[in-house]
């Protein structure tokens, strides 16, 4: 087809030809063809022509030619529609320009045009627009809109019926809309489209997924009204097109998550694992999305994780990772899937470590995409749930620790939280990771985040600090406390969130464990920390907070006379002006509280300590013996054994005194 040579027509000249009343139909047709050829597949040119106002010019031609009915009008219409579609294809700026130029009503009117070619072109352009989140939401409740939608779905033309389904996929968001659609015969029509052409199957699967998403009532309606719906969709998991297989899997997965009863007897969930593994290496969008579906499928399900492992999922995912380096969506999905597989099964972690992919992991940590960062951190967190691997120092080194520490500063809170989760586990190690974290500046970042206004960041930061300080020596604790400070720790102990309080108290529990002199931390500055701990114990409502607080007292009571006396004072303190604290905890229904309380008593009357007898007398005076005797036959063995030990110690002291 002859057209203007590129050198002959500048963009602004082109716009003039499109808009000038001096241009005849032929000029405009040539200009439109030229424009269409310029912009096809060329994002830069699309943007540049949009800026010059090309879209309103084309829409104007669209409007004029749609009203005409001669051959010349038809040619202009075809080109105008195609050009509009091209502007909207994969470009949100283009979609916006098309919508702003009021092209939508005109395009919709073309659906009924007495020319198949125009109908197809118009429908294709509309589908491209409705793939964008900028497309206006279809108002299902506006008069006659539902009727028009049903007309689209019922059309013999597969593009038109596919468009109807796409509009539903784009616009249906609320449960009210889902309900309304399910009550109008839409479900029936969509199910019938599942047996149609490729584009109908695709559009229908997406649409059904949207209408049923998170809605057990609509699901029940679908299954009730359309008996074969589930079996048709299940069959589609074997479709020859990978995209259809993926969409069918995604639908069934969503169904399982909302209304698992419909899939329980079918054994389909186990088949989904194999189907998804099979399409992992699809080069297109299917391969990008399949790992996300796999991650969703195996989440929290050890049996499915096991099945995936047996089907070599770890190897397959690592293989895809090697090839996917430059595709952020795919890389993100693969890491999430690997994280899911390694979340509980040690054999998955072992297999992964044997594949030596950590060079890829490190490069993913420096990827441009925040989503990739977050996924890698989640992956790290899951793979480091293995104490065996942490102890062996198999995969953590200074490089990846410093990369994770950098992510603590990320602008995205979810990346920071994910990095904190990974670091939380890594610092449990028993070799060098703790020191490396400090050397990489990680301690400073953790302490900063523990002061964040965001409670999730505070919680995860304190959690990481708690794990960091587990089983460390005096020197290490000194370094940590210098950075954190008692003031900040006090503030965390009294945090507004009980989960933060719990982790802060667990931090103190670890702080006062180990070398004897570490107990002195809670006595510094007149005992501020100890007083705060005692206040928390007295006022806490959550058992988890109480348990950690009591452990602190128990650990302090394993110290010297001064320490033991301080704990005595705390434990004899009356709660709510009634019983001494220690009796209240022994009466608790929580076995752990009873156990820790008994350990504290054992420590207080430990025979090697000079003041044990006096403390034993004081405890007896408040009625500790009868309380302990109640627990002699407790159902919890640990409680029973500690109580027996404590009573034995009391008896020895008594016998000693008698002598």
């Amino acid at each position: 087809m002859p057209t203007y040579a590129a050198t002959l027509l500048r963009p602004d000249d082109l716009i003039i030809r499109l808009t000038s009343s001096a241009s005849d139909g032929d000029d405009k047709l040539k200009a439109l063809r030229y424009l269409k050829n310029q912009i096809i597949g060329n994002r830069t040119k699309k943007l540049s022509y949009i800026k010059l106002g090309a879209v309103p010019a084309v829409v104007s031609i669209l409007s004029d030619s749609s009203a005409g009915n001669c051959e010349a009008s038809l040619s202009l219409l075809v080109q105008a529609v195609a050009t509009i579609g091209s502007f909207a294809c994969g470009l949100d700026t283009g979609v916006k320009a098309v919508i702003d130029a009021e092209a939508l009503p005109i395009l919709f009117s073309l659906i009924n045009y007495p020319n198949e070619k125009i109908v197809d072109a118009g429908t294709r352009s509309l589908k491209l627009i409705y793939q964008s989140k900028l497309a206006p939401r279809y108002n299902f409740f506006q008069e006659k809109n539902m009727e028009s939608l049903l007309l689209l779905l019922n059309s013999e033309n597969e593009n038109v019926s596919g468009l109807g389904a796409s509009i539903i996929t784009h616009s249906c968001r609320t449960s009210i809309e889902q309900k309304a659609l399910s009550e109008t015969g839409v479900l029936k029509k969509l199910v019938s489209l599942l047996g149609g052409s490729l584009c109908q199957r695709e559009a229908s699967l997406e649409s059904l997924a949207t209408i049923t998403k998170g809605n057990p009532e609509v699901i029940s309606q679908l299954v009730g009204l359309e008996e074969k719906a589930l079996s048709i969709i299940t069959e589609l998991t074997k479709d020859k097109y990978p995209r259809i297989r993926l969409l069918a899997c995604v639908f069934l997965l969503a169904l399982r998550n909302t209304s698992p009863c419909y899939l329980e007897d079918t054994g389909i969930t186990t088949k989904l694992v194999l189907i998804l593994l099979d399409i992992l290496d699809d080069p297109g969008q299917v391969g990008d999305e399949a790992p996300f579906a796999l991650s969703n499928l195996v989440a929290g399900n050890k049996d499915l994780q096991n099945l995936a492992f047996e089907a070599n999922a770890v190897d397959k995912l690592c293989d895809c990772l090697q090839k996917a380096v430059l595709q952020p969506r795919r890389v993100q999905g693969i890491f999430l899937a690997l994280a899911g597989l390694c979340s509980t099964l040690e054999k998955c972690r072992s297999r992964l470590l044997s594949l030596q992919v950590f060079n890829l992991v490190n490069s993913a940590l420096t990827h441009r995409s925040s989503d990739v960062h977050e996924a890698v951190c989640i992956f790290f967190k899951c793979i480091s749930r293995s104490i065996k691997n942490l102890s062996a120092d198999h995969f953590i080194n200074e490089t990846n620790i410093s990369l994770l520490v950098e992510l603590l500063n990320d602008t995205s809170t979810s990346v920071q939280i994910a990095a904190l989760g990974a670091i939380s586990n890594i610092v449990i190690d028993f070799t060098t990771n703790k020191l490396t974290i400090i050397q990489c500046g990680g301690l400073r970042e953790l302490v900063q985040l523990s002061k964040s206004m965001d409670s999730s960041l505070r919680l995860n930061a304190v959690w990481a600090l708690r794990n960091l300080i587990f089983l460390t020596d005096r020197q290490f604790k000194e370094v940590v406390m210098l950075e954190l400070t008692s003031t900040a720790l006090l503030s965390l102990i009294c945090d507004s969130e009980t989960s933060v309080q719990e982790q802060a108290l667990a931090f103190v529990r670890n702080l006062v464990d180990g070398p004897l002199e570490c107990i002195d931390y809670v006595f510094a500055e007149g005992g501020l920390l100890l007083q705060a701990v005692c206040r928390q114990i007295r006022s806490a409502l959550k058992d988890e907070v109480l348990v950690q607080g009591l452990y602190i007292l128990c650990n302090v009571a394993s110290g010297n006379e001064f320490h033991k006396e301080a704990v005595m004072q705390a434990l004899l303190y009356p709660i709510d002006n009634s019983q001494p604290m220690i009796l209240r905890f022994l009466q608790s229904s929580n076995s752990q509280l009873q156990t820790v309380s008994t350990w504290a008593i054992i420590n207080l009357i430990s025979p090697s300590s000079p003041g044990s007898s006096d403390r034993a007398v004081k405890l007896k005076n408040i009625g500790i013996i009868p309380q302990l005797k109640i627990l002699v036959n407790d159902s919890c063995l640990d409680v029973k054994l500690r109580v027996k030990t404590a009573l034995g110690l009391f008896m020895n002291i008594e016998d000693g005194a008698a002598e």
């Binding site: 102890s391 394993s558 027996k644």
Partner: protein, 215 residues
């Protein structure tokens, strides 16, 4: 504990059967992460009597899966300049995850019974174990925990240090006082080398407990 290799014959192993029931041993404060134990291992042979001082620390504990792990430090090892540290993993006999029958590591059921019967606390369980492998045993109130500990690798020396960690320990832990006794089994080493440990307070006047929580 790494030991020297000695002559012994290999034995075939048998697979243990599955078990059922809710018989998982209770959580025991003294068998938890961070807890330390110290004592000795007798490494005597026909040639000489020898005992190494041993320190053990628990690093990981997952009762639901019958899993335990930690480090073992052997002091005064003649051929080593420093204490030798190994990482071990434990299988807790809970009849759900693991039974009294090892089924690997060249330990036959005869070898298993021979070792378990060396623990006095095993006698009440003997007939049941001989009957059905101990499948119907209920450990929920039993104040002893039976385990197998298998050293996995050397932490601070190379594998060519002249020591071996090919065998494993049959272990009995007393929930009451935290004492541990064990017998090392390796078909190529002297039999019944005994491990005896007590819970240690590491310089404190009482018991102290620390913890971590995996995310």
């Amino acid at each position: 504990m790494p030991v020297r290799v000695a002559e012994a014959s290999a034995a075939s192993s048998q697979l243990s059967g599955a078990s059922s029931g809710n018989t998982i041993p209770p959580a025991c404060s003294l068998l938890s992460v961070g807890q330390a134990f110290s004592g000795t291992q007798n490494v005597s042979s026909l040639q000489k009597d020898e005992a190494w001082r041993v320190n053990v620390r628990i690093q990981g504990c997952d009762l639901q899966h019958g899993y335990l792990c930690g480090t073992m430090e052997a002091l005064n090892v003649p051929m080593a300049d420093t204490p030798v540290v190994t990482f071990w993993e434990g299988e807790i006999v809970d009849t759900k995850n693991y039974t009294f029958f090892t089924g690997k590591w060249e330990a036959t059921t005869e070898v298993d019974i021979r070792h378990w019967t060396k623990f006095a606390s095993f006698s009440p369980l003997m007939s049941q174990v001989e009957n059905d492998g101990g499948k119907s045993l209920d450990f929920s109130n039993y104040p002893y925990i039976f385990m197998r500990w298998k050293e996995q690798y050397f932490v601070n020396v190379g594998p060519d240090c002249g020591l071996t960690i090919a065998g494993f320990y049959y272990v009995c832990f007393s929930c009451s006082d935290g004492s541990i006794s064990g017998f090392y089994y390796d078909p190529n080493s002297s039999p019944f080398q005994k491990l005896e440990l007590k819970s240690t307070n590491e310089g404190r006047c009482g018991f102290s407990f620390s913890s971590y929580e995996l995310q």
